[in-house]
């Protein structure tokens, strides 16, 4: 059953983590930046579930942690999107290059 080695899964999750980080630093649209953060959180989920299944299958610590991450990420996204909508109302744009009220 465990025909896929753990290292393969860890490779996927680490790649996902850095893709998310790259997206966060290069994208200028707030919704896309939020999606990048979701990528980071999902890479963490993969990590937890993989570690739990392959290395510590007698307890369900990791699976529960990933359930909590999914829930909290949903709450975070809800607040972030509300803030972005409000930002759009005041700035007429959701591009971070346009939010330049405060500098230095």
């Amino acid at each position: 059953m465990n025909s896929i080695p753990l290292t393969h899964i860890l490779f996927v999750s680490t790649a996902l983590f850095f893709i998310g980080m790259y997206g966060l630093f290069t994208r200028r649209n707030l919704i896309t930046m939020l999606m990048s953060i979701e990528l980071i959180l999902n890479s963490v989920n993969i990590n937890f579930v993989a570690f739990n299944k392959y290395m510590y299958p007698d307890k369900l610590n990791g699976v529960f942690f990933s359930l909590f991450i999914i829930t909290v990420a949903a709450a975070e996204a809800a607040v972030a999107i509300a803030i972005i909508i409000n930002l759009y109302r005041s700035h007429r744009s959701i591009d971070v290059e346009d939010t330049t009220e405060m500098k230095y």
């Binding site: 959180l41 909590f68 939010t99 009220e101």
Partner: protein, 469 residues
Amino acid sequence: MSTDFFILMKQELIITVIIFILLLLKIGTDLSNETFMNLTNGLLLLNLVAGFVGNRSGMLFDDMFFTNPLIVLEKNILSLGTLIVSLQSADWLKKHEHVPEFYVLLLCTLLGMFFMISAGNLLLFYVGLELSGIPVAALANFDLAKKKSSEAAMKFIISSAFASGLLLFGISLVYGATGTLTFSELATHINAAPLLIFAFVLLLAGFGFKISVVPFHLWTADVYEGAPVAVTSWLSVISKGSVLFVFVSVLYTVFKPLASTWYNMLFVLSVLTILTGNLFAMRQNNLKRFLAFSSIAQIGFILVGITGSSQLASASVVYFVLVYVFSNLAAFGVVALVSAVTGREQVSDYKGFYKTNPVLSWVLTIALFSLAGVPPTAGFFGKFFLLLSGAEKGNYLLITIAALNMILSFYYYLRIVKAIFMDTNEQPIERLHIPVYPRLAMIICVTGIIVTGLAGYVYDYIHSLSIGL
């Protein structure tokens, strides 16, 4: 067993009950802002008093939640800070149309901090951290019509979400390497394996974002400037204080085996933090932005104290946070009042402030002296203990840099004092009436600055509760 639950989780339960009372009042009744604020301040005072009686130490839920006298004291410091912030925000809130929401969000973050401080498991710690982080983003946006406010909230939520992403990746690697999430078990499993050091660096980055240590401080100034003053003072004192408490206990218990590694990391970070905070504070003209950079410099001094890793170190951090609550909230109290009435926040606006508002000038001056560390005030003793505990390790380079930076910081704190007392201004801020609640908050703060410095038993009490590495 069931009474244990009520006694050990007393402070969390009280906050939860207050949140529910406020929510139901908001839905069911049509109270005026004035009544609502009186009621909430009363409940917060009750919460503070209740925090001091009938405490016990113990564990709950299979080591998930634990409490001891030091943790109770830390929670009481946060409750006191909440009460002061709530009193100070009265003037700004009374014209706002969403007063109940403000208090519900504020108390939700306080509840999150309580759970975070009491956490004995990385899962509860993470949930508490998020509960104390997400509502603050909504609070930062509370001046709904202002452009700056929504920009600050956006910057805060993106950077805090990224920080918790880093923190979580670190936690997942710790879990992978050790197979447990409980603090007490982790302490025996952690070793200097490269994977665990990498995980620790990620955790440190996550913590660094929350307390704005220098390479991760970029959100601080913008969020502080844009958010409403009450929320800024909340962020700079309560939010940072709670994360600092957890940071110290995590470093000293969970990451004990990596002590030599994190000592070097904290050494570099503290020097960077103090220097950057000081240098940027010098060139600020907006008072809120100025206080943001001064708070970054203060965090650097706290890191110097943390490197000491003895009983003295852990005591000095808690003591400094207590002093910092009083001094920073006194400074923000004056800024909040002036900004709520006149809308002016520049340093140049404060020229000749003494001629029109002698009382407010003295409060601000005492607060700034305490932040700078001038002897009769508590800030001096706070910084003295921090440097003393840092010196215990014998790293005199670090202590010399910190002490020289203390002198550097006098320049920009005294620049404000000079503007208040010596400079003249064509259009000074008019004579302000100080309403009851802000006046009460200022009295608490100024008394706190003087009493915690002069009454030695405050420090002795904290010292007797603390444990070192």
